[in-house]
């Protein structure tokens, strides 16, 4: 009658699935002659199009990944400063790639694609409780498949270059590039534009991007500066667009929004000088 609540770890053979790895209990496998000279199938990721597609990532999965990333960095870093720098570095690489990708995507004529939004993290799963409950619920599929687009790109015949007539020029004005970050990049990353874009009234090289509820750090209690990942993305983006700057995150609760975060962007002096020379004060 006693009921096992927690399943003990078992040495059940059923859990081992056959894998392609080296099976040390069998020894080296003899490869068949026709297997040896078969061309390896290239990863699909290289033949994928850079085109938009509606893609949603489970927020739960992303949050767990982010959590483990934070924990790893936290363990490895010696000081708060060190922690922020490392976390910034993780985001930086994403930012530098986004400049090219988002510019390319924005060059595609709008009537080409039916689905015009692409979200990296826009929405979430309702399934996190179902994962731990096994039998209950439906477990909604969170990764909406790209079935509506695969027919173009499956064999790589339809190339994106043929669609683009003229490339969108990279933004050169400070305000334009900030608008791009505030609108396009934020929408790509988080599924909505950031809540505000403000110019500092005290120093003219400082701008602020405001997010009322940071998507990635919404589950992390205040007091730790985990928002430096997003700072890294912004900084990587602006740096590789030739707007060198420093970005820092500040928690600024306001009324009901107690997770409101402000990303402070401080451009280097020469960026402002260049802006003045080119476009007038």
């Amino acid at each position: 009658m006693s009921q096992k609540i927690i399943l003990p770890s078992t040495s059940d053979d059923g859990i081992y699935t056959p894998s392609d790895g080296y099976e040390y209990t069998i020894g080296p496998k003899q490869s068949l002659p026709n297997e040896a000279n078969a061309t390896p199938t290239p990863s699909r990721i290289y033949s994928d199009s850079l085109m938009h597609r509606k893609q949603e990532v489970s927020l739960s999965a992303m949050a767990f990944l982010f959590q483990e990333m934070i924990a790893t960095i936290h363990r490895a870093s010696s000081s708060a400063q060190d922690f922020e720098t490392r976390l910034n570095g993780y985001g930086y690489g994403i930012g530098t790639r986004l400049v090219e990708l988002l510019n390319l995507r924005n060059s595609v004529p709008p009537n080409y694609s039916k689905s015009s939004t692409s979200n990296f993290l826009s929405n979430s799963s309702s399934a996190s409780i179902n994962e731990s409950h096994g039998s209950s619920g439906t477990g909604t599929g969170t990764i909406s498949s790209a079935s509506d687009h695969t027919h173009y790109h499956e064999n790589g015949t339809e190339s994106l270059a043929a669609v683009i007539n003229n490339m969108r020029p990279r933004d050169l004005k400070i305000l334009d590039i900030l608008q791009f970050v505030h609108g396009t990049m934020w929408t790509y990353l988080f599924g909505h534009a950031s809540d505000d874009l403000v110019k500092s009234s005290e120093r003219d090289n400082e701008y602020m991007i405001v997010d009322n509820l940071p998507m990635l750090t919404q589950f992390i209690p205040a007091g730790r500066s985990c928002d430096y990942f997003t700072c890294g993305i912004i900084q990587g983006f602006l740096d590789s667009a030739e707007f060198p700057c420093r970005v820092s995150a500040h928690s600024m609760p306001q009324g009901e929004l107690d997770q409101r975060t402000v990303y402070l962007i401080q451009f280097d002096r020469h960026v402002l000088e260049r802006d003045n020379l080119r476009f007038g004060p």
Partner: protein, 211 residues
Amino acid sequence: MAVRMLLVINKSGGLIYHRSFEGDVDKGLNSNDYLILASILHGSFAIATQLTPKALQLSQSSSKNIDYTVPYIPYVGMPRGRTSSERSKYGASAPQGKLGSFKGDDFFKESFQSWNRSGVRQLCTDQFTMYIYQTMTGLKFVVACSQGTLSPANPSSSNNIFNIHVADNFLRKIYCLYSDYVMKDPFYSLEMPIKSTLFDKKVKQMVDNLV
């Protein structure tokens, strides 16, 4: 009907979260007493199976098809009393963030299985009623309320099964909050006391919504 106390007990019987929502509940109980209380609860929960009358056990084991499904009771602990304009105001400022990683306006909308199959589900005394919800992994959520039911819609409900179902719905939502604000906190170590201020805040909101 008021919620007086909420406990979270981990699978080995340790108290990892306790919070009382009435000032006078705390009198005479220090944190050590709470730990002991939680362990006793955990222990008596475990031996409750043995206390079940033999006839009931036999009838249970003979008919394997007992339905442990708990029906979904809409919007327990959700801000449904709010006007739609107020909700849309919140919706505009925080588009998806209202329920963390859960979509829609409620955490779940379908009936679910109760994993609490042989332990205590409800404890009635003259002073309070206690409900226990157990998750698949052995975590226990315990709520003590001053009257029999947690349902704000019909506070004088004497339908006991219904009361248990309301409490299960409520505690499962606390579990949803736990899965978001505790399990996704990188600075939380497993099986240790919960100190997340966000979890505190969300639990408080949900309890307030019950009234």
